[in-house]
């Protein structure tokens, strides 16, 4: 199913604008992630698509060729996985998964066979008779997913599906979820504040800030060509090289850098992996902290710009804390971006 939102906005009764007028299209079978910090409107947007929130006047939501803007949630045929999973505590795993099918008034035998099929797909056969409170976090997440897809919804919506899990489990289930979503072959939208999650699962990421979609593209596009300081900072943790710009030269506290082009009126950003510790470098600063991360070191350097400059250093040994080091940054790796958030 394709999804098309036009001019969709949400203003709460108290006047808070949770979502500015937004356009969004999702192609059939595409997995799109809404990524942004808390309060950016990503969950509101998801709830509007589900029908759990009424958008402002003038908004339009299209599922294929059906205008569903005023269709209540129970008739929209969307599957949803909630952050807290919202499993029904009064029902077993099997009954939870079968509930959507029961609401469709399917014959008993068909419900049984479809529940069994979904249980197998999600590797939950062993737990089918259990109560939902006798499951681990990862199992609950799978039950929530199985329950959402069992009625064969037109679209799957996931609201921070991994955030209720602990860190170690989250990483393992992230990959599992990415595989399952592709197996279902379903149009899916999922909301997250975790860039790694968005990158790992989605075909396309829409970065949101203050009620706007500021940029939308494949993970590679967002990483390599962010269109704003916000996207550069949120996707890949780019650092702002805060200094004075003079034509193609950028003057920092710790020395001068060559920019790829005239940087007037723009801000320069750099990622930690592009900051090299090199004796031929034009910048010099003092090592503030060193973290050993296995195959590389994360080194914080002060005295180059007001904030600490982070370098991902992949040598056999690292400089000591307090040592003065030279730093080199290649001009083509510097990103020049307009100031502030780009609101399109």
């Amino acid at each position: 199913m394709t999804l098309r939102l036009t001019n969709t906005a949400k203003t709460y009764p108290d006047g808070t604008k949770a979502l500015m007028p937004t356009e969004l299209s999702v192609a059939k079978g595409e997995i799109v992630s809404l990524l942004g910090p808390s309060g950016c409107g990503k969950t509101t947007l998801l709830r509007i698509i589900a029908g759990l929130e009424n958008p402002d006047e003038g908004s339009e939501i299209w599922f294929d060729n059906d205008n569903v803007t005023s269709l209540p949630v129970e008739l929209r045929q969307v599957g949803m996985v909630f952050q807290s999973y919202a499993l029904f505590p009064n029902m077993s795993v099997r009954a939870n998964i079968g509930y959507g099918l029961k609401m469709k008034k399917l014959p008993k035998a068909e419900i049984e066979s479809r529940v069994t099929e979904v249980l197998e797909l999600c590797q939950l056969q062993k737990f089918s008779g259990r109560a939902t409170d006798a499951l681990s976090g990862g199992q609950r997440q799978r039950v929530a997913l199985a329950r959402a897809i069992a009625p064969r919804p037109r679209m799957l919506l996931l609201d921070e599906p991994l955030s209720a899990l602990d860190a170690a489990l989250r990483e393992a289930l992230r990959d599992e979820l990415a595989i399952l979503l592709r197996e279902f072959n379903i149009t899916a939208i999922f909301v997250t504040h975790d860039q790694d999650e968005a990158m790992a699962i989605a075909d396309r990421v829409a970065v949101m800030s203050e009620g706007h979609i500021v940029q939308s593209g494949t993970p590679e596009e967002l990483y390599r060509n962010p269109n704003s300081a916000f996207v550069a900072g949120f996707v890949g943790n780019a650092m702002h090289l805060n200094g004075k710009c003079d034509g193609k030269m950028l003057h920092l506290e710790g020395g001068a850098l060559v920019l790829p082009k005239d940087g007037a009126g723009q801000n320069a950003f750099i990622r930690a992996e592009s900051v090299k510790i090199d004796d031929k470098g034009t910048l010099s600063g003092q090592v503030e902290n060193v973290t050993f991360l296995g195959n590389h070191y994360r080194i914080g350097i002060k005295g180059i710009m007001p904030d600490t400059l982070i370098s991902m250093h992949s040598g056999q040994s690292a400089p000591k804390i307090g040592q003065t080091v030279k730093v080199a940054i290649r001009p083509e790796e510097i990103m020049l971006l307009p100031e502030g958030v780009n609101k399109n």
């Binding site: 589900a50 029908g51 759990l52 209540p72 949630v73 129970e74 008739l75 929209r76 045929q77 969307v78 599957g79 949803m80 909630f82 807290s84 919202a86 499993l87 029904f88 505590p89 009064n90 509930y99 959507g100 609401m103 469709k104 329950r147 959402a148 009625p151 919506l157």
Partner: protein, 263 residues
């Protein structure tokens, strides 16, 4: 077990407290099955007085049961949606409403009865019908029903559960039937037993509202104390116990269970 003096002291105090509570009860029950109370147990044991109570007061026993069942039905019909509404929309207004519903707990039954008499006393048909007593009982027991259900509903994320059911295609009524009621069940059960027990045992309010032809169990008890021989009154106490004690025990069990779930 009896090694330390403190232990012995504890046991003595406990036994004394039990005796303080139980001895009058046992004496009263015994009086109900004694042939002649003034001669004591030596006069022999009999069920004569219990039959006599049945002859004289069977109507009030049935009336009490009927009232309790009707009261339960009415408090369920009003209380369940009320508790649901309060749980779905928590806020200052809901707190205020909850306090308002609970007001009959703080007002003495007599005052409540007086207010009802002032308002409806002139409506002859209603005043002399059993439904008048029912209104009093519902007013008095409703807060117990609402609070009991509300405690259980407030302990879970009802909004999200219902949203979950909605995305699976459940209409508002189906959500209420499949999600809200089953999950509120421990609270409904505890509330129901409380309402039935209170309704059967209620005296204050009922005594003010009753007419000579409409005596409930406790009102009949007071009547038998005032106008019958002591053995009959005691036998009446026995009947009352037999009815109320199992209810009380069931209520304790159900409330404990609901509280565990509410945590």
């Amino acid at each position: 077990m009896f090694k330390s003096k403190i232990k012995i002291l504890q046991l003595t105090v406990t036994l004394a407290a039990c005796a303080f509570l139980l001895v009058p009860t046992i004496l009263s029950i015994l009086a109900g099955v004694t042939v002649n109370y003034f001669k004591g147990i030596s006069s022999g044991l009999t069920l004569k007085w219990v039959y006599k109570v049945w002859e004289l007061y069977a109507d009030s026993i049935f009336l009490s049961m009927w009232l309790a069942i009707c009261c339960l039905i009415v408090t369920l019909i009003i209380g369940l949606p009320a508790a649901y509404g309060l749980a779905r929309h928590p806020g200052r207004l809901s707190r205020l409403l909850e306090e308002f519903i609970s007001l009959p707990l703080a007002v003495p039954g007599l005052a409540l009865a007086l207010a009802l008499l002032q308002l409806y006393g002139s409506m002859k048909g209603f005043r002399s019908s059993w439904t008048f007593i029912l209104v009093g009982h519902v007013l008095y027991t409703l807060p117990f029903m609402v609070r009991s259900i509300l405690a259980v509903l407030a302990s879970m994320d009802l909004n999200t559960l219902e949203e979950g059911a909605a995305t699976l295609g459940a209409s508002p009524w189906q959500r209420f039937r499949d999600i809200v009621i089953p999950n509120a069940m421990p609270g409904i059960l505890a509330g129901s037993l409380t309402v039935v027990t209170l309704s059967i045992g209620e005296f204050n309010l009922t005594w003010m509202l009753h007419t000579p032809y409409l005596k409930t169990l406790p009102v009949g008890l007071a009547d038998s104390y005032a106008s019958m021989r002591l053995e009959i009154a005691s036998a009446y106490t026995l009947v009352f116990f037999v009815l109320i004690v199992p209810l009380l025990m069931a209520m304790q069990w159900a409330s404990a269970r609901a509280q565990r779930i509410a945590k």
